[in-house]
């Protein structure tokens, strides 16, 4: 190939990738880096009006956050969402995938699309719908429970029920996505393996534990990492359904960041929250990858 051809190819390569790279640098990398810088300043409503009021304050924002009970409440709530939500959603998605993957199932595409549908709906719209489904007096959920003799639950008004209520909604909304990923992995597990175990007299649960799960372990990890990241990013759910309440029981880290930044205009402190959130997500992802390596999953 001629040198001129090489040069024009390289030039075209840069010309085609540079608009996207410029946009990424300007609207993604720069803000992410600026977030760290901003977190060491006292950027607030006065600095917003006149940048001359801006001062560097070192770690003051972080120190103040550590002393702020609402911040800790947000961290605890988010960890509760991760701790309860991830096992719940991963299990739910896996069972849904196994059901749709069953060899005895008729009309598979119909069920697959029905189970996936909630994932593509508009979050705010379905959050509004679920707020009514979970209504204490008129909600369908409490009506169904009443058929089993369970007294009405004040889902969105009781600090102990609000977090499970949002988890039910998030689970409903997202399990279809994970199900599709699991489904792709399950299809790579050879049917003969499962069949052989069945002939040997292994029950359903034994086959799940000793045949299916080891075969799809990397996918379980991938789905867990994605779900953890999703749980750290809950915002619209509490915003629409509970506004962080009752008694701040559904304030998540991102909700706290939004209020710090755009309700009270403490942008410096909000940026510190954002940076801590990033460190959390990074840490969890790294820990999960390490665990997977040690157990030989990947």
């Amino acid at each position: 190939m001629s040198t001129i051809g090489r040069v024009s190819e390289a030039r075209a390569g840069w010309a085609m990738s540079s608009p996207a790279l410029a946009a990424i640098a300007l609207f993604f990398v720069l803000p992410a880096v600026a977030s760290l810088v901003l977190s060491f300043t006292d950027f607030d409503i006065y600095a917003l009006a006149d940048i001359g009021n801006l001062r560097f304050v070192g770690f003051q924002n972080y120190e103040r956050l550590i002393g702020n009970p609402l911040f800790w409440k947000a961290v605890t709530n988010t960890l509760l969402f991760v701790g309860f939500g991830v096992p719940l959603i991963v299990t739910l998605s896996l069972f849904a995938a196994m059901l749709v993957n069953s060899r005895w199932l008729k009309w598979r595409p119909v069920w697959r699309v029905a189970l996936f549908a909630p994932y593509v709906t508009t979050l705010v719209a379905t959050a509004v719908v679920w707020r009514y489904l979970l209504h204490t007096r008129y909600g369908l959920v409490n009506y169904l429970l009443s058929l089993f003799g369970i007294a009405p639950i004040d889902w969105l008004g009781d600090p102990h029920a609000s977090l499970p209520a949002i988890l039910i909604f998030v689970g409903w909304k997202t399990f279809g996505y994970n199900m599709i990923i699991f489904l792709a992995a399950l299809q790579t597990v050879p049917r003969e393996l499962d069949e052989a175990a069945r002939i040997d007299g292994a029950g359903w649960f034994t086959r799940l534990r000793h045949v299916t799960l080891p075969a799809i372990a990397p996918t379980v990890l991938l789905v867990s990492v994605l779900t953890v990241a999703g749980m750290f990013q809950l915002f619209a759910e509490p915003y629409v359904m509970t506004q962080g309440g009752p008694a701040q029981s559904t304030v998540t880290i991102l909700y706290f960041m939004y209020e710090e930044g755009f309700k009270w205009w403490n942008l410096g402190s909000g940026a510190a929250v954002a940076f801590l959130l990033f460190l959390c997500i990074l840490a969890v992802t790294l820990v999960q990858l390490r665990l997977a390596k040690r157990s030989g999953a990947i």
Binding site: A10, P19, S35, A117, V120, T122, W172, A184
Partner: protein, 271 residues
């Protein structure tokens, strides 16, 4: 065997019904008269179906304006994202230039960083550029779509180099090769990517909430969230609002689900 076949199918049908029940109920309540859904036990079907709630939404609530805003922002976001992403994805897959692989590795590493991290500085940046409270401000995050570049690149890797070389020997310029040879091959992934961006920008809530202060510019989710805080008691009206907000994307997904689901797998199960 036949019994097993039917019991599995019946179980799947039951789970599927349970899953879409909230959506069916939303649709049903949206046709009910005011106050009809506030009974116990909750009625499943409207006793006298009417379009009154929709009339009220498009009349006194002016939801048509928000619908247009959403349509405009999502369409522009899709077009811009495609314009920025497709050439970049192709270049990273097929054109040899210095620093290509190192740059791409950085982009993949950046996929771990959630966009919300930079939201506060991005707001300040756009404020300095005079883009706060404008359609342009709402569009900006969709220009920086690393995931889209990744998706297009994966797909381009399967294009044989000989095909591009042959075109070069025939004297085609790099831009012509992209337009005449590569784009037609990319059609399926372009549909997938367009669908992702359209649905993503339509459903997006946090960024439009931050950047759009003027009510005239609100997208449907932002308007619906504001309405739901003011009209907590109007179940039927809110359900109609939810239908208007979510039905367009639901229909779009159902029509193009094949493209959506294959793209989802290319994106998540990385090679």
């Amino acid at each position: 065997m036949s019994l097993r076949r039917w019991s599995v199918t019946l179980l799947a049908a039951f789970v599927a019904l349970l899953t879409i029940a909230p959506l069916l109920w939303m649709l049903s309540v949206s046709f009910m008269a005011r106050g009809e859904a506030s009974q116990f036990p909750p009625p499943l079907l409207p006793s006298d179906p009417s379009l009154d709630n929709y009339r009220m939404l498009f009349g006194s609530f002016g939801i048509g304006r928000f619908l247009l805003n959403s349509l405009l922002i999502s369409t522009l976001a899709t077009v811009l994202a495609l314009l920025f992403t497709i050439p970049a994805g192709y270049a990273f897959a097929k054109l040899r230039f210095k620093g290509r692989d190192a740059t791409f590795r950085l982009l993949v590493a950046a996929l771990v960083v959630p966009g919300q991290i930079g939201m506060l500085p991005l707001f300040l940046e756009l404020k300095a550029m005079g883009l706060v409270n404008s359609y342009a401000g709402a569009l900006v995050p969709w220009l920086a779509g690393i995931f889209g570049i990744f998706l297009v690149r994966q797909y381009c890797l399967s294009i044989p180099d000989e095909m591009l070389e042959a075109a070069r020997i025939d004297g085609a310029s790099e831009a012509q090769i992209l337009r005449r040879i590569v784009l037609p091959i990319l059609t399926p992934i372009i549909v997938t990517l367009a669908l992702f961006v359209f649905l993503g920008s339509w459903n997006d809530f946090m960024w439009p909430l931050i950047i759009l202060a003027d009510q005239d510019l609100y997208t449907l989710p932002v308007a619906l969230a504001a309405m739901s805080r003011q009209h907590v008691q109007d179940n039927e009206l809110m359900m109609a609002g939810a239908v208007v907000t979510t039905l367009p994307v639901l229909i779009l997904f159902l029509a193009l689900q094949r493209f959506y689901l294959t793209g989802l797998l290319t994106g998540s199960v990385k090679g």
